[in-house]
Each structure stands twice: as structure tokens, then as C-alpha cells.
């Protein structure tokens, strides 16, 4: 475990609600997102995509397209002659440009760069692909059965027992104790099966990039991504070039939520640019985003929970079957780890399954794998509580994990905030507010790990005493502001004096992707450490100026002060004063910090929701919604609240209406916002966020990541509310009106 970094302190800047530095650009339309950049002589690139769910590519004839006016390059998989070094990157290459088979509706099979959209589109029509259509499978349960159409051979791991199709890639098991003995002690046992549909992150900005690549094997890429270092490393591996020869600059990013943690267009654009010798811009249409980026897994889950009459869970089991599209992704395992994580269980067996189907490869979506698992587990927890006549919050409090609990996935918890969120929920007026006819209230808990990872930060002191901070993670929702705040806090200077920029891959060392809720934690930690590094240098400069030992200098309120026996002998030297003379005291001053950050600190949340169900149509209305989450320390409370509100609303969409609908032919039926129904403003009430601050021991200010946990409880919370309002247990997501009405009528 990481060492204890947390120190209690009074904050001056952290915890206030300052204006973000990129705000002006973003309210005036000046900010440059992925599709907003152009280059002289630029071409536009488009992909040709498979109309089939599963097909062998017998041949591709591009000759006619190549000869067309305005067409400057046509590429297929044959142009990617380099074999990537890692297995993972080979899958990514197979995903961005199909190899011998198209594995899903929308899989790219060729691409064109041309001088105009119309020329490129005409060229796409002229490419002749000879497909042999193969049987396909999109449902997780069907895909597991022996005899199911199989996507790959020889990829099944040894963990998979006999009797399954080759689509089942892996099985993993977590837990402890003896579940049979535990169920034997139970007074009440409830067992249920659940299904959840695949959903999409739904970021409003489609993937886009501008690539410039020459035959000298040097390249520049501008793109919207959650991690430009990841883009650089992956593209370099795919193109067979040294990563240092490719510079990637992150554009402003119009949402990601995990969906922009891999590459789709970028290697294709680079290859088109290399072949044409011209800059190439590519942007996905919404249809392409839906069909061919990275949605979530769809799942099939069985949960069994046993309890005593007085509310102690004696045993629990879970089978978490996740299809993650056409390649391996660790999703079922994450579900199996997270589902039961809020509880202190004596006896647990939790099994995750990874299954391939003819769908696009799943990408992360805020706490990947966890929301569906929480939906299933928390639904049964709710039913068990109801069965024994206990208040659902009391039942959860009785079984809640605490510091010292052995977690569902193995490790023992340090200080955690689950109990605090449950107690806050119980004490909140929402929990005791009266309900009307056809209304129901639900509660649900959720867990996410949070990550740290590779992080670099550089902090430069400018001659006038202002500070420039370089970080390497795209700012997806106010993180530049948070970094400036933490640097200002640590240095003791005003927030306005610190300007944070997101550096390109050639200007700062390797940084992990903006994922795992890591940025405010890990980059924040690195920022504080970089500031401390700069402070050490400034103290040394002051000491030299005064002719005393550096150890005899302390840093107070943004200034070096003589301490100990020298206290009061010299007037303090401020950052501004030290900066003004730095050229004469030893040269420029900069602090930096590089580490693989540990100690991210797990995160818990509890949500409450009131719904009203129209018994004649099955329509569900969200009446009231309150989120309780432990943020460790909220650096910028507005942006923490925003994460909680945004996560909850994405969860509302997932619970009620969002779903990937595949037709009999395996093609996606609703590849657009019209029929992939994300919540609109008029669907919602205000979302009340309640931030709890249980300091994370792994961070100097106690910060925990908050970005992901907010999407974990909603599916269960809303299902519990709807089940109570409708008087019938809902076990399949989304709870769209036809399903709710059918359940009411069947009851």
C-alpha cells in the first residue's frame, strides 16, 4: 500500500469555486476541438465500412476508386505491413482496419483521402469488396453456447472450462469463505437473473483528427483523445515507427467518459497521410460513432443472496457474463470484482466471464463493468431487505464494508467512505419525504477502484513571479483549473498567477490516459510535488541570498522566511522577489515530478431516486434524485458536483431508455441520437449532489477521484424505485415503457 501522504491543513484556494482558465475560449466558440483544426493543402479522409455483422473479405478492388478525380490515396489492410509488437495493439489494428474478416456492422475495411467530401464519398462507392457473409451472434448467452458462430479460434484461455464455444475467452473468480455453508445459515435466500443492454458513452463530439505524416517517418497528429501519449504509443506501434518520431497534440475534447481511451481513426489518418504525402483530416459521423467506436458490454447476470431474519448476509454468489464485442476486454472480471464491493461478506463467490460477439469492441465507460454488476446485486439486496421487512438503508448499513473489511476482490480496505454516504442518505430529507400514488423510492450503492498511473508535471517560474504549469492529460471537465488551484495552494500564490496548459507528447514525459478517475488525484499529486520541488529550489536561493543554511529556511504564505535561530533576521522573500533575481542567483527555476502514482483510494457512492410510473403506459418519470459521494477532498466543488450530476444522468439514460438494438441481420438499428435515446433537459429534475469528504490517505490533500463512481449506483437505484412504484421487480435494462407495461400487466 502507498505511504500515508495526507496531512490535515487549512486550505486557501482548494475548495473554492474559481473560474476555469479555458472558460472564455469555450463560451465564445474559440476553443479548438478535434474537428476544428485544418492545415494548408489538407485532404479529407473517410472509411468504407462493412455492412455485414460477420463476413470473410475475399477481395477488395480499389483500382477504380484510385483513378477518380481528386482521390489521393486509398488504403486497405494490405497497407499496414508492420506487425505490432503487442497482442493488444494487434487487436487494435484489427479493429481499426479489418484483417481477413469483418467482425461487426461498421467495421472499417478500406479508407480514402481526397480533395473534397464529395470526391471521397464517390470513391468509397467505387471500391468493390467481395464478402462471404458468415453466420453471426450478438447476444451474450447465445454466443457462449457450443455451436454458436465463432469469431476467433485458439484465443480461449485455460481458465475456461469445457462445454463452451470459442467465443468465451476467459473466466475469473473472486471471493472467500464457503458459500454453501453460508446459504445453509440463511433464513431467506433470493436468486434472480438479470440482463442489461449495451450502451454508448454518447459524447457529443465525434472522433476527429488531423494527421501529417511524411516518408521520412516523422509525423504530427492533432486529435481529440483522453490520452495523447496512448495515441502516440499505439499509432507508432501500428505504423512501425519509433514513438519519438510522432508528436501528438490533444485538442480540446468534447466528452469521452472512457470512449476516447483508445484509437479508431488516428492510425488510418496517419497511413492515408503517409501514402498521399498530404495532411489528412478525418471525422466520424454520428452513425460511425455508434456503429464503430467502443460501446459498453451487454450482460447476463445471476445473483443469489442469503440473509438471516435480522439482516446479516450469510452468503452471496454472482455469475457475471459480459460480451465486450469482437475482441478480448476485461469487463466481466471488473463486474465480478465491483458488484459486491460495498459489502462485508463472510462467504462470497463471484465469477466473471469474457465473451466475444459480432459487435464493436467495448471501450471503457465510466467505471467499466461496474454499473451493470451493481444493478444486479443492489436489486437483490433491495428485494432481500423488503422480504425481511427491513429499511433498505439500514440493511445496507448492517452489511456495509468498513476500514479493515476484506473486499470482494481481495485486498483489505483502508479508510473508506461508504458508511458515511449511507448515513448521509438516511439523514437527508429526501429519504423521508412523502410519496404519492404510483410513486416509488429506490436506493443503491456503488463502488469504483480509481487509478493512479504514470504522471509527469513541470512547473516553471516566470521572471515576473507568475507560474506556468504543464500537465499531460487532456482537460475533460475543469482539470486545468484544479491543477492551477493545487499549485497555487502549495506555493502560496494567487490562483490567477498559475496558468496550466496541456503539453504535447514531445514537451513532457509519458502520462497515462485520462481514465480511472486519476487526473485530479495523480496529476494533482504530481502538481503538489512539483510545487514542493520548486519551493525547495526557491528556499535554497533565499538561503544563498541571506548567506544561511537552506535547512534554516521555511516556506510560509508564498515566501521564504528565515527560521530557527535566524528567525526575523531577514525580511521574507516572496515568489515574485525570488523570480526577479533568479537569473543572478543560479538561473531559471522549475519544479517537476514524475512517478507512477499509487494510493488512488477507492470510492463509494449512494444514490436515492423517486420515480413515478404511469400504470397505463409504463412511462417512468424521475421526480427527485440525490447523490451522496465521497470525494476525499473536493478541489473545485463545482466540478465535483458536475461529475456527480453528469454520472447520475448518464445512469438514468442507461436505466430507462438507452440500448444498442441489433436486428436479425446483426446490423445496428438505432445508430443515431433519434433512437439511441440519451436524456434531454426536459426529462430531468435537478440532481442534488451531496459531497462527503473522507480524506484519501494516499494524497497530500486527501483527494480521491470522483469521475466514475457516479454512474455505478443509478441503474440499481432507479430499478429499485421503479420496482417499488410499479409493484413488480424489473430485471432487464433498459426499463423502457413497453417492458415496464408488460411487467405490470403480467403481474
Amino acid at each position: 500500500m502507498a505511504k500515508d501522504e495526507f496531512e490535515k491543513r487549512e486550505f486557501k484556494v482548494v475548495g473554492t469555486r474559481v473560474a476555469r482558465p479555458d472558460g472564455l475560449d469555450k463560451v465564445t466558440g474559440r476553443a479548438r476541438y478535434g474537428a476544428d483544426m485544418s492545415a494548408p493543402g489538407m485532404l479529407v479522409g473517410y472509411c468504407l465500412r462493412s455492412p455485414h455483422a460477420h463476413a470473410r473479405i475475399k477481395s477488395i478492388d480499389t483500382s477504380e476508386a484510385e483513378a477518380m478525380a481528386g482521390v489521393k490515396a486509398v488504403i486497405t489492410r494490405a497497407d499496414f505491413t508492420n506487425v505490432p509488437a503487442s497482442d493488444g495493439t494487434r487487436d487494435i489494428l484489427d479493429n481499426v482496419m479489418a484483417n481477413d474478416k469483418a467482425l461487426y456492422d461498421g467495421h472499417t475495411v478500406a479508407a480514402v483521402a481526397a480533395t473534397s467530401r464529395s470526391a471521397a464519398k464517390a470513391a468509397l462507392k467505387a471500391i468493390k469488396v467481395d464478402y462471404e457473409v458468415l453466420p453471426h451472434v450478438t447476444d451474450v448467452d447465445a454466443a457462449m453456447l457450443p455451436g454458436a458462430p465463432e469469431l476467433h479460434q485458439g484465443r480461449q484461455q485455460e481458465s475456461v472450462p469445457e462445454g463452451f464455444s470459442q467465443n468465451v475467452l476467459a473466466r475469473s473468480q473472486y471471493g472467500h469463505g464457503d458459500v454453501d455453508a453460508g446459504f445453509a445459515q440463511a433464513d431467506v435466500i433470493i436468486e434472480r437473473s438479470f440482463k442489461t443492454a449495451a450502451t454508448h458513452q454518447g459524447y457529443i463530439e465525434p472522433h476527429a483528427c488531423l494527421a501529417t505524416m511524411g516518408n521520412d517517418n516523422q509525423g504530427d497528429l492533432f486529435c481529440c483523445t483522453q490520452g495523447h501519449y496512448m495515441v502516440r504509443n499505439t499509432c507508432a506501434d501500428i505504423l512501425g515507427m519509433e514513438s519519438g518520431r510522432l508528436r501528438v497534440t490533444a485538442s480540446e475534447i468534447g466528452g469521452g467518459f472512457g470512449g476516447k481511451t483508445t484509437v479508431f481513426l488516428e492510425p488510418v489518418a496517419l497511413m492515408l497521410s503517409k501514402k498521399s504525402g498530404k495532411p489528412v483530416k478525418m471525422t466520424m459521423s454520428r452513425d460511425e460513432v455508434m456503429r464503430a467506436s467502443g460501446p459498453t458490454a451487454s450482460t447476463s447476470i445471476d445473483i443469489k443472496i442469503g440473509t438471516t431474519r435480522d439482516g446479516v448476509i450469510t452468503a452471496a454468489t454472482g455469475e457475471f457474463r459480459y460480451q465486450s464485442g469482437c475482441f478480448y476486454a476485461m469487463n466481466g472480471a471488473l463486474g465480478a470484482m465491483c458488484g459486491f464491493a460495498p459489502y462485508d461478506l463472510e462467504n462470497l463467490k463471484s465469477v466473471g466471464w469474457e465473451v466475444t460477439t459480432n459487435r464493436p469492441k467495448a471501450a471503457a465507460y465510466r467505471a467499466p463493468g461496474a454499473p451493470m454488476a451493481a444493478f444486479a446485486v443492489e436489486s437483490v439486496v433491495d428485494e432481500v431487505a423488503k422480504e425481511i421487512g427491513m429499511d433498505p438503508i439500514d440493511f445496507r448499513l448492517k452489511n456495509a464494508a468498513d476500514e479493515g473489511t476484506k473486499s470482494a476482490y481481495g485486498p483489505t480496505y483502508p479508510a473508506i467512505g461508504l458508511r458515511a454516504t449511507l448515513e448521509a442518505a438516511k439523514a437527508h430529507p429526501h429519504w423521508s419525504a412523502p410519496l404519492g400514488k404510483n410513486q416509488g423510492r429506490g436506493v443503491g450503492c456503488g463502488f469504483w477502484f480509481n487509478f493512479g498511473g504514470d504522471t509527469c508535471v513541470s512547473l516553471m517560474l516566470n521572471p515576473d513571479g507568475t507560474v506556468s504549469l504543464s500537465e499531460g492529460n487532456p482537460d475533460i471537465g475543469g482539470s486545468r483549473a484544479s491543477m492551477s488551484m493545487m499549485a497555487a495552494e502549495e506555493l502560496g500564490v494567487p490562483y490567477e498567477n498559475v496558468r496550466t496548459i496541456v503539453a504535447d507528447t514531445a514537451s513532457l514525459g509519458q502520462n497515462e490516459v485520462t481514465d480511472g478517475s486519476r487526473v485530479t488525484f495523480a496529476v494533482g499529486l504530481a502538481t503538489i510535488k512539483a510545487a514542493r520541488h520548486a519551493i525547495e529550489i526557491m528556499k535554497a536561493r533565499a538561503a544563498a541570498t541571506w548567506g544561511i543554511d537552506a535547512e534554516a529556511v521555511e516556506w510560509v504564505d508564498g515566501a521564504a522566511q528565515p527560521a530557527g535561530p535566524n528567525a526575523g533576521k531577514f525580511p521574507p522573500l516572496t515568489v515574485k522577489e525570488i523570480a526577479a533575481t533568479m537569473s543572478n542567483t543560479g538561473g531559471p527555476i522549475a519544479g517537476h515530478f514524475e512517478a507512477n502514482a499509487e494510493g488512488a483510494g477507492v470510492s463509494f457512492g449512494t444514490h436515492i431516486c423517486d420515480t413515478e410510473v404511469d400504470p397505463e403506459t409504463g412511462a417512468v418519470k424521475i421526480l427527485r434524485y440525490t447523490v451522496f459521494q465521497d470525494a476525499g477532498k473536493a478541489v473545485h466543488p463545482d466540478y465535483v458536483e458536475g461529475q456527480l450530476q453528469g454520472g447520475a444522468v448518464q445512469g438514468i439514460g442507461w436505466a430507462l431508455n438507452e440500448e444498442y438494438i441489433y436486428g436479425e441481420d446483426g446490423t445496428l438499428q438505432n445508430a443515431g441520437y433519434l433512437d439511441y435515446r440519451i436524456p434531454v433537459a426536459s426529462d430531468l429534475p435537478m440532481i442534488e449532489p451531496v459531497i462527503l469528504e473522507i480524506p484519501n490517505p494516499g494524497h497530500p490533500y486527501g483527494v480521491r477521484g470522483v469521475g466514475e463512481t457516479g454512474i455505478v449506483p443509478p441503474l440499481a437505484t432507479i430499478a429499485n424505485a421503479v420496482s417499488r412504484a410499479a409493484g413488480v421487480r424489473m430485471t432487464s435494462l433498459p426499463m423502457s415503457p413497453p417492458k415496464v407495461l408488460a411487467a405490470i400487466k403480467a403481474n
Binding site: G618, I661, R677
Partner: protein, 285 residues
């Protein structure tokens, strides 16, 4: 593709007649979506909005004539039209978002011939007619007869709709339109239902019409005689609901199931009838 902006009905007819692959452009909220998605590739689009009269709402024989270029937002802002036909206007105003409202037209909704067009059931229940201009002059056609199947209309080559006419509403009459969608906005109707009622001075229904959207290949006219002679009491609206459910012939698709659509047809029939009745009772002659 060419872009044409005729300044008279005759010019528009001439262009459409000369080029059967040309498409009329009204608000473009269907046409441009399909154009950009590559579902259609017309040889020309003919913007009819610059033809005089296309953007006018005017009173005629006690009824209302609505030009084919009038946006649904403009209808919603027209107090007289709204008072005469609240159901027609609410159907038109349900189309799309604020942004779509600023462009979309009832004639475009009708000619797009989607089974779920929100403005169509109330027009049909109101016995509205469309004025069609073509190579042989103009003709008036019942709105019900314009769509023939999904995406298909009875308009002949060279023809287009210049206006929609809503006849003079009888005394003590009114209408209502309701649709069911999974969200509160931005969805295509899973079921749509319009009811148009006329009462006598005592409040007894003397004539009633109902039409349903999204439950068949085109808008359906459903027998609403169950309400006639009643004061829209529970038994009468239940009978109307049963008629709606029986008349609906929907399909299973991504937006709803057969069973759901049939059930909800009945639910909306009840609810729309009650609203129309209250409005008709309150409506001054």
C-alpha cells in the same frame, strides 16, 4: 445536385415536371437528414419558400389556409389558428426541438409520409384538405389521401402541395392530439392519437372523429361513433379506447411492440377524447 429557388408556383411546377428526380425543399428537416445520410441523391432540390404566399396563414370561408412554407413555430405563435384548432397546432408543435420547429412544416410532415408524423392525425380528424399544384392546375385533396404507404404519396409527377386548408370549425367543436414517446421530447411517436369533437349546446357529442398515427403503414381513421350521443362519460371513452385498440395494426420495431402500441392507442384515445371534450365545451361558437 442543383439548388433551385422558383419565385412562382408555375416555375416550381415547371422545374419539378422537367426533372422527376428533383425534390421539394420546405423546412428541410427530413430532406436534409436523408440527403446527408446518403439515403437519397436527388438531382435538384427546389426551395419553395421564396414563392409568394407560401409563408402565409390566412382566414378563408371561416377556415384557415396555411402556406406550405409556414413553420410549425409560426403556427404556434398564431392566436387565431390556435384557438380554432388547438389539437392541430399542438400536433404541429410537437415536431422536433425548438430548432426543428423554426423550420419544419405540416406539408413537409405530410409529404414525408412517415407513419408517425405528428401533425397528420389531427389534420385528418379535422377533415383538412391539401391544395396541390401541378402541370394540370390545382386540385384539393383530402389530407388523408396524400400519404399512401411509408415514404410514398399520391402526388403525381410535377405536383406539390402549396397549402393546407382547415375547414371552418362548427360551433362547440374542438380537438386534441396526444402522442406517446419514451422521453419527453426529441422522439418519434410510438403512437399518436387525435380526436375531434362537436357538441350540441347541452354538451352532448353530435359528431366525433378520431385518427391514429404510428400504428399502421399510414395514418388511420377510426370510427369514433362510440362518443356520439354521450357526454364523454367513462363508458363512452372506454368504448372509444376499445375501438382504437382494435383498429391499430402496428408492427414490432425498435420503437415499440405490437402489444404495447395497441394498448397505448386505447389509452391515448381516452385521454385525447377527454381533453377535446373539455375544450369543445369551453369553446365559444
Amino acid at each position: 445536385m442543383k439548388f433551385e429557388t422558383p419565385h412562382s408556383v408555375d416555375d416550381a411546377v415547371a422545374i419539378l415536371r422537367a426533372d422527376p428526380e428533383a425534390r421539394v425543399l420546405a423546412g428541410g428537416t427530413d430532406l436534409l437528414v436523408r440527403l446527408r445520410a446518403g439515403h437519397i441523391s436527388p438531382s435538384a432540390v427546389v426551395d419553395i419558400k421564396r414563392i409568394p404566399g407560401m409563408r402565409d396563414i390566412s382566414q378563408e370561408d371561416g377556415g384557415w389556409r396555411i402556406g406550405a412554407g409556414v413553420s410549425c413555430a409560426e403556427m404556434g405563435e398564431h392566436a387565431g389558428l390556435k384557438a380554432a384548432y388547438p389539437g392541430v397546432v399542438e400536433g404541429a408543435e410537437l415536431i422536433g426541438s425548438t430548432q426543428v420547429q423554426g423550420r419544419c412544416t405540416m406539408a413537409g410532415n405530410l409529404c414525408n409520409a412517415g407513419p408517425a408524423g405528428d401533425s397528420v392525425p389531427a389534420m385528418v380528424a379535422a377533415q383538412a384538405t391539401a391544395r396541390v399544384a401541378g402541370p394540370n392546375g390545382t386540385r384539393d385533396v383530402a389530407v388523408f389521401d396524400i400519404p399512401t404507404a411509408p415514404g410514398q404519396t399520391s402526388l403525381a409527377e410535377g405536383e406539390f402541395i402549396t397549402s393546407i386548408f382547415l375547414p371552418a370549425p362548427p360551433a362547440h367543436s374542438s380537438d386534441a392530439y396526444l402522442r406517446f414517446i419514451p422521453r419527453t421530447e426529441m422522439d418519434i411517436a410510438v403512437v399518436g392519437c387525435a380526436v375531434n369533437l362537436t357538441l350540441d349546446a347541452a354538451g352532448t357529442v353530435t359528431s366525433a372523429s378520431m385518427s391514429l398515427g404510428a400504428v399502421g403503414p399510414k395514418v388511420k381513421q377510426v370510427d369514433a361513433s362510440a362518443l356520439v350521443g354521450t357526454i364523454c362519460d367513462d363508458a363512452a371513452v372506454e368504448a372509444l379506447a376499445a375501438a382504437a385498440t382494435a383498429a391499430a395494426t402496428p408492427i414490432d420495431d425498435k420503437r415499440g411492440t405490437i402489444a404495447f402500441r395497441k394498448d397505448v392507442s386505447g389509452v391515448l384515445a381516452k385521454r385525447a377524447a377527454r381533453i377535446a371534450y373539455i375544450r369543445a365545451k369551453g369553446a365559444s361558437s
